[in-house]
């Protein structure tokens, strides 16, 4: 293998705290650019707060001739998908002892935390009256939670946020304790908080707790977030044939896993370059992630096919209308072509290892991320544009997101990255365990503490 040299080098604890100890100019530059993008979007959001949602290109569906949910909801789903996929992947690594991927586990959890924050932000951005969000929701919660899928969403997102944060906090204690003398003093107060009540005896208990949490996450995966409440937001609305139907559950879950894997590939690729982690995110790890990406992308494409065939072949009038419209939409076609290209590459490199290149994997991952985001926005738009009640069809409807809406995508990506980069300065984002007993590829020798 080409990377034999890199892989021969053993990962050490020194590697995983490198991001905390060394801060390069590039880091500051990146923070600067990202902050600028995020601020630009926040200004746009402020403008929206002032003027109302009229600054978006959304409108009333029906006689109004627009769609009332659009990019904001599509991007919301996309972020939740990344978050949900991330935590499922990390749980799978823990549960099934996939030590090869252990270095990505915490990165995936962190991705869950940051992506979930962005989806929460999108809920706020989407509202007409975000100022009432807390008071109104809390007041009626005991009743709405019985009937409103949106109330379920808020519940589950909060639940997942708390669960992931607990998960990360628990597993961080060990690492922080072990590495404390090597971590910067200036952050000591923070570490002291993290280590409240820590004793070495708890390690085993925490290991078990983390395992059970992981089990819980895997078992609940088909019900919560992208396996359940998020697709139910749409599939329980029988008046929109583009959304209706039990296929949305698996469809959303496949998208979640696809985009989370793509996200992880991007992160491991970048951090590998930034922190000389060639021996941690080896080509073999990236290749493995690429293969997984292939499997889930295939599922995603396959479920799309199911839905389209069901809509086109002797379906009711309206489902046929939606599916025809979907198929003939250029953005949809582009998204699908991207998926096919990514798949072609992934399968080629699976069959013939020499085709593999981590750069191509990065390109495939980015392509997949764009494709899933476009598919989600289109899904929201077309559901509303082709309702069961077909009399509105003659109202010339069109929707292309406004600048304010588009800026939110850039803004949240920047914010999410910022969050990620800051957390990387505070805690090791690769688990100490994974460098301590990195014994699946190598013979277990030096374990440094």
């Amino acid at each position: 293998m080409a990377t034999k040299d890199a892989e021969a080098k053993e990962p050490e604890p020194a590697d995983i705290i490198r991001p905390i100890l060394n801060t390069s100019m590039k880091w500051y530059a990146a923070i600067g650019i990202l902050s600028a993008v995020a601020l630009a979007w926040l200004a746009a959001f402020g403008f929206q707060l002032q003027e109302g949602l009229i600054v978006t290109n959304l409108a009333d569906w029906g006689s109004g001739g627009g769609v009332t949910w659009g990019l904001y909801i599509g991007a919301f789903i996309w972020w939740v998908g990344i978050a949900h996929g991330g935590i499922i992947l990390s749980a799978a690594v823990r549960l099934f002892g996939m030590t090869k991927y252990q270095p990505v586990a915490r990165m995936a959890e962190l991705l869950t935390l940051t992506a979930l924050s962005m989806s929460g932000l999108y809920i706020v951005v989407h509202m007409g009256r975000p100022d009432r969000l807390v008071t109104s929701v809390v007041n009626a919660y005991p009743w709405t939670v019985q009937s409103s899928p949106l109330a379920w969403d808020v519940t589950v997102i909060t639940l997942y946020f708390v669960m992931t944060a607990t998960y990360i906090a628990l597993t961080l204690r060990y690492d922080t304790y072990q590495l404390r003398d090597r971590l910067p003093d200036i952050l000591d107060p923070l570490y002291r908080v993290v280590l409240i009540g820590y004793s070495e005896k708890e390690d085993e208990v925490i290991e078990r707790m983390a395992w059970w949490l992981a089990l819980g996450i895997i078992v609940m995966a088909p019900l919560l977030l992208h396996g359940g409440v998020i697709p139910w937001l749409f599939s329980l609305i029988p008046s929109m044939p583009g959304w209706d139907g039990a296929i949305q559950g698996p469809q959303f879950l496949s998208i979640a896993l696809t985009s989370a894997l793509a996200g992880l590939i991007v992160i491991s690729y970048t951090t590998r370059i930034a922190y000389d982690w060639e021996h941690i995110f080896t080509d073999s790890v990236i290749r493995g992630l690429t293969n997984w990406l292939g499997i889930f992308s295939l599922m995603f494409v396959w479920l799309q096919l199911q839905q389209i065939i069901n809509g086109l072949f002797a379906a009711h009038v309206r489902p046929e209308v939606v599916m025809t419209a979907k198929l003939s939409n250029t953005i949809y076609q582009m998204a699908m072509v991207t998926m096919f290209l990514a798949l072609a590459y992934i399968f080629a490199q699976a069959v013939k290892p020499s085709v593999f290149s981590r750069h191509l994997s990065l390109v495939a991952a980015l392509g997949v991320l764009v494709a899933t985001l476009s598919e989600k926005i289109l899904f929201v738009f077309e559901g509303l544009a082709y309702p069961e009640f077909g009399l509105y069809d003659q109202v010339p409807g069109h929707y292309s997101p406004s600048l304010v809406e588009l800026s939110s995508v850039a803004g949240t990506v920047a914010l999410c990255t910022l969050m990620y980069m800051v957390i990387m300065k505070l805690f090791p984002i690769i688990e100490l365990h994974s460098v301590e007993d990195h014994d699946d590829d190598h013979d277990n020798e030096e374990v440094s503490a």
């Binding site: 403008f47 003027e51 109302g52 949602l53 009229i54 600054v55 978006t56 290109n57 959304l58 409108a59 009333d60 569906w61 029906g62 006689s63 109004g64 001739g65 627009g66 009332t68 949910w69 989407h126 509202m127 007409g128 009256r129 009432r132 969000l133 109104s136 929701v137 007041n139 009626a140 005991p142 009743w143 709405t144 009937s147 409103s148 899928p149 949106l150 109330a151 808020v154 609305i237 029988p238 008046s239 929109m240 009038v317 309206r318 509303l384 309702p387 069961e388 009640f389 077909g390 009399l391 509105y392 069809d393 003659q394 109202v395 010339p396 409807g397 069109h398 406004s402 600048l403 304010v404």
Partner: protein, 491 residues
């Protein structure tokens, strides 16, 4: 199965739970399941369902136990071939106090039937586990529903009260055969509510059914569904159903503007307030008090104050639900609650669109209490049915009988064509249409409108447009730096 029993029970058309939607608190689907389970037994499913239905009335206190037993005495006899009927003759033995704590079914089985041929066990079996389960389930959920009613004032329900518990069920009969597309109702509604440009709470389609050349109209206010999906999905219960009269309203003070109600409504009747409303609050007639102060008044005082102000913004609960919504909040046809609560100059039981339609001489819209047989919509529908039935009128319709191979056969039942929109979505709309339902390939023909929306004028001087998107985009463009002109082409 005994056909007689089925007939017996069917002979009660006035049964309050009969005419309505699913009587079971868990919904129609559940009820259907129970029915099919019952149908699988050798006993009469209709009877079982009927009993369960009444069992609920029993626990709701709408039916006394004596009445209940008396009603089913004979049915049970026929159904279960019990020669002697000690079970129900022994009715006095039923411990009534106990019945309040236990399920009706358990109480029933307390009757001493040991001496008889039929053992309690067998009796249970015969009643059908399904019926027992249904009755019991109904009882349990009824209880939890009661608890639900003790909710804070600001949190409302999502269904109208059952007929006995409500004052009215407002709704409309709209005679599409009388509508000529003059759009007077659209103007009437805008005048009443001060809605913004393009927010046509009342909208009239001009459309073609593909198989006919004829021009059709569909008058489309909110359907004020009794099983309103919009209210179900609202995450804050801003969209709710007023239990006393079934009006589907939005509390403008609670709504967070998520627009899920708009997404869930199958009819596309919701209009969001994307920017500042065209008609400022000062111009709307209303009681100048903060909403929470209005709510804190006691009922009579509130009513007096609202009447003095000829208020058109609050309903009688002191909730801001009428007229156009403020920025960032959802609006739609309200069926004019300030009129129905009698604190405006306009009569209760009228709505502005109907008044306008009457004034235009069309009288296509008939609003009123659907629970009341004497109400305008009900009497109108009756009369239309009678006319349709009378052979003379009928023949007029087929002016050239030769064209038909067989002349239309007289039919014992009315043949008046009525429909409710998208009924199979189970929304239970409270608007009944007279006329032909738009077919699956019907399409709107905006260019053929006899009167165009853009030509309408109103009291507020607000522009009227059919399609709102252009207008909103223009608004966005005025603020935002989008390239102008790209959408100018379309009217």
């Amino acid at each position: 199965m005994s056909a007689d029993d089925a007939k017996d029970t069917n002979e009660e058309p006035t049964h309050p739970y009969e005419t309505e939607d699913s009587f079971h608190p868990l919904g129609a689907e559940w009820e259907e399941n129970m029915r099919s389970e019952l149908e699988d037994t050798e006993f009469d499913a209709d009877l079982g369902m009927e009993m369960a239905r009444d069992a609920q009335r029993l626990v709701a206190g709408e039916l006394s136990e004596e009445e209940f037993y008396a009603e089913y005495h004979e049915d049970m006899e026929d159904e279960f071939d019990v020669d002697e009927r000690p079970v129900f003759d022994d009715i006095d033995d039923v411990d009534l106090d106990k019945a309040e704590d236990e399920s009706m079914f358990e109480a029933l089985t307390d009757v001493d039937i040991e001496n008889e041929d039929v053992s309690r066990r067998e009796m249970m079996k015969k009643m059908g586990a399904g019926a027992a389960f249904l009755g019991y389930g109904a009882y349990a959920t009824y209880d939890s529903q009661k608890e639900q009613e003790e909710v804070p004032q600001q949190v409302s329900g999502i269904r109208p009260a059952e007929e006995d518990g409500r004052e009215h069920r407002w709704g409309m009969v709209i005679d599409l055969e009388r509508c000529d597309g003059c759009l007077s109702c659209v103007t009437g509604c805008i005048n009443e509510n001060g809605t913004s440009t393009g927010a046509n709470w009342m909208y009239v389609f001009t459309y073609d059914n593909h198989d006919t050349e004829q021009q059709n109209f569909l008058v489309r206010p909110c359907q004020h569904c009794s099983n309103a999906p919009c209210a179900k999905v609202c995450p804050v219960r801003a969209r709710h159903v007023r239990s006393k009269d079934g009006l589907v309203l939005t509390d403008y003070e609670i709504c967070i503007g998520c627009r899920y109600c708009q997404v869930a409504c199958p009819y596309g009747v919701n209009y969001f307030q994307w920017g500042e409303p065209d008609v400022p609050m000062e111009e709307l007639e209303h009681l100048d008090m903060r909403p929470e102060d209005v709510r804190s008044l006691d009922e009579d005082e509130r009513h007096t104050k609202l009447s003095e102000a000829n208020d058109h913004v609050y309903d009688d609960r002191g909730r801001w639900t009428d007229s156009r919504p403020p920025k960032g909040v959802m609006g739609k046809c309200t069926m004019c609650p300030s009129r129905q609560d009698e604190h405006t100059d306009n009569e209760k039981g009228t709505v502005a669109c109907m008044d306008a339609c009457d004034e235009a001489g069309m009288s296509a819209i008939h609003f009123g209490d659907l629970d009341d047989e004497e109400s305008r919509p009900n009497t109108y529908l009756e009369r239309r049915k009678e006319i349709e039935e009378s052979p003379k009128e009928k023949n007029k319709k087929f002016e050239d009988p030769e064209e038909y191979e067989q002349p239309p056969a007289p039919h014992p039942k009315s043949q008046l064509s009525t429909f409710r929109l998208l009924e199979d979505l189970n929304t239970q709309p409270n608007i009944t249409y007279i006329g032909n339902e738009p077919g699956p390939h019907a399409s709107e023909t905006p260019e053929e409108r006899p009167v165009h929306y853009e030509a309408l004028s109103n009291d507020w001087g607000v522009n009227v447009v059919a399609e709102r998107k252009e207008h909103l985009d223009y608004g966005a463009r005025a603020n935002d730096d989008n390239t102008p002109g790209e959408e100018e082409g379309e009217a």
